[in-house]
């Protein structure tokens, strides 16, 4: 079972205590955005086979949203970090690169 540590309350929670929220760091385009941009925001997903960044909510705990880096192939969790970030932190990127040789990095 997947276990993630909530960066808000510090509790290490099992998957059943958490609610998945899909791909993280999606860029929402403002008024005046083209249809293609809005379609990309709404529907197009990287759905990567490998390192993924995604949103989770500690639903049966503190209730807060947070972000996690995880492998979609092995379910290995590389780390969690607060939701109030627009890109994965540098130390997490470095940790993933050390763990997954050949990973191209966060786009």
């Amino acid at each position: 079972m997947l276990t993630l540590t909530c960066p808000c309350c510090g509790v290490t929670a099992e998957e059943t205590e958490l609610a998945p929220g899909g791909e993280a760091h999606l860029k929402r385009f403002g008024p005046g955005a083209s249809e293609a941009e809005f379609e990309a925001y709404m529907f197009a997903r990287a759905n990567t086979k490998g390192v993924v960044f995604e949103r989770w909510r500690h639903a049966y705990g503190c209730g807060k949203w947070f972000l996690a880096a995880r492998s979609s192939v092995t379910l290995e969790v590389f780390g969690t970090y607060p939701a109030q970030t627009s890109a994965p932190p540098a130390d997490l990127i470095a940790a993933i690169k050390a763990r997954v040789p050949g990973w191209e990095g966060y786009p």
Partner: protein, 415 residues
């Protein structure tokens, strides 16, 4: 290809069954094919088969990274039904169901289609209203379904507990022509028929790159070397996004693990398919006597083909409540498959930004039932370059235009 028949069995019996030929060839890849279909699962093989049968295009390769029918085709719960709410879905799935009826004769291969009837249980007032609406929609679509009360449910499924403590059975949506088929045989039958038409099925041949120039696909690089193609059809279910990334576009798809399990074999006790969407469980009995049980998907992107314990627990708990008689049954084995989920829970049969590249994906948790219809519609799309009436509403542009074929409510989680 030698035809299978009672005479063939008699003839081979005289030779101690030493004369049977292999069902399909295992050739080396040629330099170029008119059409390459990536993915030798049910949908990919059916696409190739109907390209040959309906359009006479037989210079076709079906490329598969693993073994034929080893993905979701071999991992589903073999349920066939077409009781969908929306018109485009009902047309597509009903086409598939009707093709299943004659598939064994068509392919000269016994796919063991068993139209044993299918019940979708209504266990809340909301479901009662929803399924009655579906029955009415199906009447208009020409799909034969009807609403039955709890008494008739009990008569059809004697082992069911209709006055369960949490969710009593209030009735069911009944499709008498729904049922099951032998999933492996569907893949094997299509493969044999494709091979007989001269198509090459290339197993253990993983696509590593999609070569392109001037907005069109030129060919693919594979673990068995480069192969050129006139047209490319991507029919790879859970790995659609991986192939799309190679081709340079994104799909509105998230891949998740869906799991199923079977019990130890027991004597016949249930001769229909029962789906309980409120409690997330569906059940049927295989010809070997195992109860085939399916449950829900993991909620996050996942390529593990494994599944998770809490879903087994949820599914089994729900089914024991509905079928108390099976509570002492042992489970034999469990497995997972990677399903490709779209936002509206409807498939994608579409052109792509690359002119001669087509995708067939997004069947999510319910692709097996659609295999013949999906292949039929996809073959038309690939052969003509434009979707026919069956595939017309399932293009990628529906997401941009907001023309969803919303089956997430109609079908619930279970397929």
């Amino acid at each position: 290809m030698k035809r299978y028949s009672v005479f063939a069995v008699a003839r081979e019996a005289m030779n101690w069954h030493t004369g049977w030929e292999r069902a399909w060839r295992s050739p080396e890849p040629r330099r170029r094919y008119d059409v390459i279909v990536v993915g030798a699962g049910g949908h990919g093989l059916a696409t190739a088969y109907y390209l040959g049968r309906n359009f006479g295009i037989t210079n076709v390769a079906v490329v598969e990274k693993g073994w034929l029918g080893g993905g979701n085709t071999g991992r589903n719960t073999t349920i066939i039904r077409s009781n969908y709410l929306q018109d485009p879905s009902a047309a597509l799935y009903e086409k598939a169901r009707s093709l299943y009826e004659g598939l064994s004769q068509d392919l000269n291969y016994n796919v063991m289609f068993s139209p044993r009837g299918l019940l979708m249980l209504a266990q809340t007032e909301h479901e009662v209203r929803g399924y009655k609406r579906t029955v009415n929609a199906n009447l208009l679509q020409g799909v034969e379904t009807r609403w039955i009360g709890p008494g008739e449910v009990k008569a059809l499924v004697p082992i069911i507990n209709i006055d369960g403590p949490r969710y009593p059975i209030l009735g069911a949506l009944y499709q008498e022509r729904g049922g099951t088929a032998r999933h492996d045989a569907v893949a094997w039958g299509y493969a044999r028929a494709c091979s007989a038409m001269g198509m090459d099925i290339l197993q253990n041949c993983e696509v590593t790159a999609v070569r392109q120039a001037n907005g069109a696909v030129q060919g693919i690089d594979t673990s068995k070397g480069p192969i050129d193609c006139g047209k490319l059809a991507i029919v790879v279910a859970g790995h659609s996004s991986v192939l799309a990334e190679m081709a340079g576009f994104r799909l509105p798809i998230e891949s998740m693990a869906l799991q199923a399990l079977v019990s130890e074999p027991i004597k016949p006790c249930i001769d229909v398919v029962v789906m309980a969407n409120t409690v997330h469980g569906y059940i049927s009995q295989s010809d070997k006597g195992e109860l085939v049980i399916g449950g829900g998907t993991d909620g996050f992107v996942n390529y593990t083909q494994r599944g998770s314990w809490q879903h087994i627990e949820e599914t089994v708990r729900a089914l024991i409540e509905t079928f108390p008689v099976i509570s002492r049954l042992k489970m034999l084995r469990q497995w997972g498959g990677i399903v490709d989920m779209t936002g509206d829970r409807s498939p994608i049969l579409s052109k792509t930004p690359l002119g001669n590249c087509f995708v067939n994906c997004g069947w999510g948790t319910g692709g097996f039932k659609a295999i013949p219809g999906s292949g039929w519609a996809m073959a038309e799309l690939v052969a003509k370059g434009e979707p026919g009436p069956l595939a017309a509403d399932f293009g990628l542009d529906r997401f941009r235009e907001g023309r969803f074929i919303d089956e997430s409510v109609a079908a619930g989680v279970a397929h």
